[in-house]
């Protein structure tokens, strides 16, 4: 804790560095934070909305998918960057001491900026389709972002600590994230899952978060409190166990990296 206070300015500059490094020598720069979810939305709308005719809870498929793609993009990008972060910062890790969790924390923290930009775009697209967030539901948004960050941090810490020992993680992470996307109500609504299996399905902590975003912004149905509660519980378990595992491995990073 004392360390965190000492090094909080380092985290700030680390986040800035990561953002800068990500968009350096790109033509669009931060525009990619906008384009990435928009392009995904277009592809999903054509293939899943139009061709496969997947139901979308009574709202137009583009808005339906974008409301899920925005938080998902944050999760997938941040967890992915976090997984590789220790490996790509090995050189510093073997030379200088600072709390190691700052390295994966940086893409997770910095991703929040991208998330904010993407949320603004989402609100714009919603307005284009005649959707405006209304008061009781939209208040859920900060709670959902909190759950999203908890889950992302938990997964990110696990992947980062595993990747520094087993480089296999670098190859399995993209595959894992793709599989996870299909196991989360992103291209289809939560309602297609039979209600007696929904508790099992909600053990995936992203289920409650993604469904929550749709409910909060598009009012696609009632808030699934049990799913949301499971998101928090599973997310916290991931976070606590990930932090403990990370701490255990942290002490030998310089020796095994």
């Amino acid at each position: 804790m004392h360390d965190l206070l000492t090094y909080r300015d380092f985290l700030y500059f680390l986040v800035r560095r990561d953002i800068r490094a990500r968009y350096t020598q790109t033509v669009l720069g931060v525009g990619w934070a906008v384009l990435q979810p928009l392009l995904t939305m277009i592809v999903f709308s054509i293939f899943f909305g139009r061709l496969a005719d997947i139901p979308s809870s009574g709202v137009p498929y583009p808005v339906f998918s974008l409301a899920a793609v925005v938080p998902w993009t944050y999760f997938a990008n941040s967890a992915g960057y976090a997984a590789n972060s220790l490996v790509s910062n090995q050189q510093i890790l073997s030379k200088v001491y600072f709390p190691r969790f700052l390295i994966p924390a940086s893409p997770i923290g910095g991703g929040v900026l991208d998330l904010a930009i993407a949320l603004t775009i989402l609100l714009g697209v919603m307005a284009g389709f005649g959707f405006f967030p209304t008061v009781p539901n939209v208040l859920l948004l900060p709670v959902l972002v909190l759950a999203l960050v908890i889950v992302t941090t938990g997964v990110g810490l696990w992947l980062a600590a595993l990747a520094i020992q087993y480089r296999d993680v670098r190859y399995t992470t993209p595959f894992l994230l793709q599989l996870w996307l299909f196991l989360t109500p992103i291209i289809y609504p939560l309602s297609v899952i039979p209600s007696d299996l929904r508790w099992l399905y909600s053990l995936n902590p992203m289920t409650g978060v993604i469904d929550g975003f749709r409910v909060a912004l598009l009012e696609t149905g009632a808030v699934q409190w049990s799913s949301l509660a499971l998101s928090f519980i599973v997310g916290t378990v991931l976070l606590v166990s990930g932090a403990r595992y990370f701490n255990r491995i942290e002490r030998v990073f310089a020796d095994i990296a």
Partner: protein
Amino acid sequence: MSELDHRFAVRVTGLGKRYRIGLRFDREDSLFLTAARTLAAPVRNFRNLRRLRVFSDDEEPDVIWALRDVGFELERGEVLGVVGRNGAGKSTLLKILSRVTEPTTGTAQMRGRVASLLEIGTGFHPDLTGRENVFLNGTMHGMTRREVAARFDEIVEFAELEQFIDTQVKRYSSGMYVRLAFAVAAHLHPDVLLTDEVLAVGDAQFQQKCLGRMREVAGSGRTVIFVSHNRSAVSSLCTRAIWLENGRMAADGAVDDVLARYHESLLVGTDAELVHRADRQGDGRIRIVGISFRDSSGERMQTATAGSEVDIVLAYESGNERPVRGVSVTLILDSATGHRLATISNDFSGEDFGELPPVGELICSLRLPLTGGTYVWSIKARVGGGLADRVMDAAVLSVDGSEFYPTRRAPDIQAGELLLDYRWAAAEATFARGRESNAGTIGR
């Protein structure tokens, strides 16, 4: 914390560090076994990766102790030099002290803020500007943003980069990069500063500036631990030194004592050891495998008399067991405190060895113009201009007595290492009263 404890700045007790080194796997001799081995590879890989951090209690063949039973205590303001050969555990010690890695046994306590400069410029990002890197690097070493901001102008001035501070670091020359990196490091103001070979970078002028800065830091009551191969830097900066040999402490004491003992240790059995020296550079087209000093009658000696004729005999082997042409050999002479005294080579004297047999000796004859003391020789060999072999600190030669001057007297080493060949004469002053001149010649 008791009252007594307040004196120490660094306290290290029973420090040990264990590493696992890679052992070669056996190769299978049948296709079937090779295939089976390949299929089993993931299991074996998993076990090996895990074994990097999991140790069993009994001694295993692939475990080495990089550091064992190291202990010392530093008071605030002490400047400690750490010397030893490559692989003696110096870097491991600094890594433990800087908390980069954990010791296997023992503890290291440090009082106050610790800054480690294990490699200059670590963490600089090429896409960031000089200014951004100063903040990133300063906060990485535990400074707050405000502290960096307060010293920012000083840092930029020290680095002499005022005009380029908002340029991306990737556009810097390597010299500019190093200057900025050292400038940040030099302004960290830690209570304990750990540093490793950082002075080996940059041009000679900047090295001097860095050394001056280190002296300032050391003089301002901060505790410094300094690892270096630069003996003159160690002897001029440090008051105390420890000498590490195979991970253990071989000596701890006043800097001159420890340096002298360290160099004496290099003397023992040099001839036999030179063959086994692995810390060589060069492509190996020729290797110097032995060095000995012989007097005019061909007797080997470890102590030479100043002013006597000495043959330095280098035994060599050609890398491919065939004759070699175009060989040039350089001997570098350093004093025990690390001052470079001379570089001698057949290139300068213009001697060509022609075609050399695959195995043989090269002999350099000279008259030793040195005062009593110990001297360290390093060797370089080139073939056709390309570096073939280089061994630093290959041998030590003790010098005593003096036959250099006819009087057999000579100044001692505190008065300088070199004996020069000179003559004195007295002459009449041009406008003074005439007086008989009285000239004599000294030396040869």
